[in-house]
Each structure stands twice: as structure tokens, then as C-alpha cells.
């Protein structure tokens, strides 16, 4: 019974994360700590195999293997999401860089002699470069 509540909470948690720009726990320190924790848990589970079943029974799951599987699915969903969002942010950064590069290399007077604004460099999008002689 307890496991049902935990798993539904985890699923809802993932749903909330989908809607957020950034998954929490993305800082270097938290990721390293989580990684070490997983290693530790793995060693303990290998040394005392029955322990997973004991924990499983405590939360209402029959077998330790099942509990491990549930944990795996939850962690996988979280990590897939975190990765997708990281890629999304990188994509955004690439767009900003590409646009800025295009603007900074723009011909000042190419085909058709564009009239320059007297007070150029005002009121532009945040990503636009602002270098004017």
C-alpha cells in the first residue's frame, strides 16, 4: 500500500518536472552525491541480498527484485527528463550564439546600402549584440 502512494507521487513528480524548465538536483554536487549513494546502495544490496526483500516487504512489495525494478523505472524517468531538458537548454544557447554571430558578422552596407539608424543600438531583443562604434 505504501508503495502505491510512493509510486504515484513519483509519477506525479515527473509530470510536474515535465512542465518546468529545469529539473532540480542538476547541480554538480547533488549529482555526485546521488551517484555515490547509488554505488553504496548497490554494494549493500550485493552483500546482503535479503535486505532488498526486507525493505520491499516494509513498503508493501512482495519481492525485493520488484522494488528494485520500480526504483529503476522512477530514476530512469527522472534522468531521461533531466537529459532532455539539458539538451533543450543547449539548443537554446546554440540558437542565441548563432543569431548573435550572424548579427555581428552582418554587412553594414551590403547590397542596397541600408540607411544606418542615427541612434542605433536601442530597444533590441536581449540576445542582440550591442556593439556600435
Amino acid at each position: 500500500m505504501i508503495i502505491k502512494i510512493l509510486l504515484i507521487a513519483a509519477a506525479l513528480g515527473v509530470a510536474v518536472l515535465v512542465l518546468r524548465e529545469e529539473v532540480p538536483g542538476q547541480r554538480e554536487a547533488s549529482r555526485r552525491a546521488a551517484g555515490l549513494l547509488v554505488v553504496l546502495a548497490g554494494i549493500i544490496a550485493v552483500l546482503w541480498p535479503d535486505l532488498t526483500t526486507t525493505v520491499a516487504n516494509a513498503v508493501g512489495v512482495g519481492r525485493g527484485t520488484d522494488l528494485v525494478l520500480y526504483l529503476l523505472v522512477t530514476v530512469f524517468a527522472y534522468s531521461a527528463l533531466a537529459t532532455a531538458q539539458r539538451i533543450h537548454r543547449l539548443q537554446h544557447d546554440v540558437t542565441v550564439l548563432t543569431r548573435e554571430l550572424a548579427l555581428s558578422q552582418a554587412p553594414r552596407s551590403g547590397g542596397g546600402e541600408l540607411p544606418l539608424r542615427p541612434e542605433a543600438g536601442t530597444a533590441v531583443g536581449s540576445a542582440a549584440p550591442q556593439e556600435h562604434p
Partner: protein, 229 residues
């Protein structure tokens, strides 16, 4: 008579077949044509430059929304243009339509003139495309509260004020809806002008896939959900 206070922005992505004609046609009526080459690999940028356009280049393909935004920033930074026209490079649009829309923007002093292929005459539009576009129109009429009859038409006229106020974040095709949704909140005025859109075999092969409608909806839904909290 050539128009010199209007900047035409043409997003270009692998349009080697049509970009030179598009640019030279435009230059007959307008003094300033700026092509944003969105990382083309077929020499479109050189062709556009040879045809007389100012060419800005995205080193990597970033999508039409990003290309237009780069064009808008360029206009604000480097030109004194009073109006900006967005114009597709695949020779779907007619230069005379763009001219008429600019005239109308001036005459009626509106910020945005949108082109509509559904009140104008549209040649050789595939039925399935028409169904998808009409659904998109219904959806956009709800979200943007604009009384428009066409929503994903690449031909638009924007006043300088409109370019300053509309901030596009969508990089791919969803920018078209984003732009429309921003018009009323930004306090801008708009009208719709009937135009001709020519569906050639080339533009059909080059243009948006119908399945992309799903991607557009998805992009919009996610951005809306993210904006909510």
C-alpha cells in the same frame, strides 16, 4: 518607383532554385532585401548575395522563427526602416501583394498587415493542406482573439513599432502562432489583406510537411504550460 523605407526579410533554407528570382523580383519594387540564410548547404547564400540581397548567415540551421528574429534584430540595429516585410523564398508570394500590403499599412496606419490566402485567390492548394490550415486558423482565432482567416502565411508587414514589441521565442514554425498571439497584448493594430499564394510543385515539395502541424501544436502547448505557473 522603389520603396526605400521598407526592409524585406527573406528566411532562406536551401532554396537555391528560387532564391535568386525571389530576390531580384523584390528588388524591382523594394530597395532593401535582407536574406537570413539559415545554414543552407546548397549555396543559397551566395546566390542571394549575387542577386543583390544583404545576406546574414546562421552557421547552423535554427528554424524559420529564429531566422526571422535575427532579421528583426538586424532591422532594429542597422536600419532605419519604418516597415518590415517577411517574405518566403520559395516564390509562393507575389511582390505586388507585398507592395499593396505596405501601402495599406501606411494608408490605414496599422502596425501589422497579415496576408490571407483564403480570402484571396489561392492556386493549386492540396485539399489536405487546406483542411489542416483551416483547423490551424480556428485554433489561432481562439488563442489570439484575432479575427483572421489565415495563420501560417509567410507574407506579413510589420511596423517598426510592432517589431520592437513582438518578442519571438519559438525557433521553429510555431513562431507564426506566437507572433499572432502577441499582437493584441502588445497593443498593436492589424488588418488582413487578401493575397495570392501559388502552390507550385517546387513549393509543395519544399514546404512544410502536413505532419508538422502536430509539432507546432506540441511546441505551443508546452510553451503555454510553462508560461502558466
Amino acid at each position: 518607383m522603389s520603396i526605400d523605407d521598407v526592409c524585406i526579410i527573406v528566411p532562406v533554407y536551401n532554396e537555391a532554385q528560387t532564391v535568386a528570382t525571389t530576390v531580384s523580383d523584390l528588388l524591382q519594387s523594394f530597395d532593401h532585401v535582407v536574406c537570413i540564410d539559415d545554414g543552407s548547404g546548397d549555396g543559397s547564400a551566395e546566390l542571394a548575395r549575387a542577386a543583390g540581397a544583404t545576406v546574414l548567415r546562421h552557421a547552423v540551421n535554427q528554424g524559420q522563427g529564429a531566422a526571422l528574429r535575427t532579421g528583426f534584430d538586424y532591422v532594429l540595429l542597422h536600419t532605419a526602416s519604418s516597415y518590415v516585410v517577411t517574405f518566403d523564398a520559395d516564390s509562393q508570394h507575389l511582390v505586388e501583394d507585398a507592395r499593396r500590403m505596405v501601402d495599406r499599412a501606411r494608408a490605414e496606419d496599422v502596425d501589422v498587415v497579415l496576408a490571407s490566402r483564403f480570402t484571396g485567390c489561392t492556386e493549386r492548394m492540396p485539399l489536405i493542406r487546406e483542411l489542416i490550415l483551416r483547423t490551424a486558423v480556428r485554433f489561432t482565432r481562439m488563442t489570439s482573439r484575432l479575427k483572421v482567416t489565415d495563420t501560417h502565411n509567410g507574407l506579413r508587414v510589420l511596423s517598426r513599432r510592432a517589431v520592437q514589441r513582438i518578442d519571438l521565442r519559438m525557433t521553429r514554425m510555431a513562431y507564426a502562432s506566437e507572433l499572432l498571439d502577441a499582437i493584441l497584448p502588445a497593443g498593436l493594430t492589424y488588418v488582413e489583406e487578401p493575397v495570392t499564394v501559388i502552390y507550385t510543385d517546387y513549393s509543395r515539395a519544399k514546404g512544410q510537411r502536413n505532419s508538422n502541424a502536430f509539432n507546432i501544436l506540441f511546441d505551443l502547448a508546452v510553451s503555454r504550460l510553462r508560461a502558466a505557473p
